[in-house]
């Protein structure tokens, strides 16, 4: 399956990428994806972030589906 990963703020700044696509095995869940991302971008290992799947904040882990949009969200600063 293909998923899109979005990076924001200090994460996008650290890795120099805003958005990219990944081809994943069908059994991959969000925790697996985070491991893949931390392997690819060791500079985010220490970074605090939340994950949104299809624009919903994730609680715990979740199976991924083809076409999913996953976002890595550093701490919010609105207001």
């Amino acid at each position: 399956m293909t998923v899109t990963v979005l990076y924001f703020a200090q994460i996008a700044e650290k890795i120099g990428v805003n958005r990219e696509q990944f081809e994943l095995k069908d059994s991959v869940n969000t925790a697996d994806l985070v491991s893949i991302l931390k392997d690819k971008y060791p500079q985010i290992t220490e970074q605090k972030f939340k994950i949104a799947v299809n624009q919903l904040l994730l609680q715990g882990e979740k199976e991924l589906e083809d076409g999913a949009e996953i976002a890595l969200l550093p701490p919010f600063a609105g207001g």
């Binding site: 200090q10 701490p75 600063a77 207001g79």
Partner: protein, 148 residues
């Protein structure tokens, strides 16, 4: 009365001006069931960090998700409080220190609902809206803002 279902344009490019706030207030004077408005304004502080002063915050957002989040926050506020109107505006892009980046406006027949709802909205926005802030210092270095 409650304009619950209209889709709302939350994001504003750059600072929110006092004139925009005045126009929004004036717009409510035809709604004569309103007895109380509460307005919260977030203003960019010229904070000092290690001897450097913040001159602006550059706001970015995960916009599609943020608009959904704002919509949910609005709906939940209309359920919790007896409101006639509710408006939320947040800046994107550069907002200089002293300028306004957040405008939350609640209106009700009575003061308690307007005030309780306004506070609820501000807390929910700070906690849940995927908005990011790059604090830019006078020497153009920066740090990333984090809500507490």
């Amino acid at each position: 009365m409650a304009d619950k279902k209209k889709p709302k344009n939350v994001f504003v490019e750059g600072a929110i001006t006092p004139e925009k706030i005045a126009a929004s207030i004036a717009h409510h004077q035809v709604k004569t069931r309103i007895g109380a408005h509460d307005i919260f304004l977030g203003q960019v502080r010229a904070d000092e960090v290690d001897g450097k002063t913040v001159r602006a915050i550059e706001y970015t957002a995960y916009q599609e998700m943020a608009l959904k989040t704002f919509h949910e926050i609005r709906e939940s506020a209309f359920e919790k409080f007896d409101l006639t109107c509710m408006h939320i505006y947040h800046s994107l892009g550069f907002v200089k220190s002293g300028e306004i980046c957040l405008f939350v406006f609640t209106s009700s027949a009575h003061r308690k609902d307007a005030m309780d709802a306004c506070r609820y909205l501000v807390e929910q926005i700070k906690e849940k809206a995927p908005i990011f802030g790059r604090e830019v210092f006078e020497d153009e270095s920066h740090q990333w803002k984090m809500n507490q």
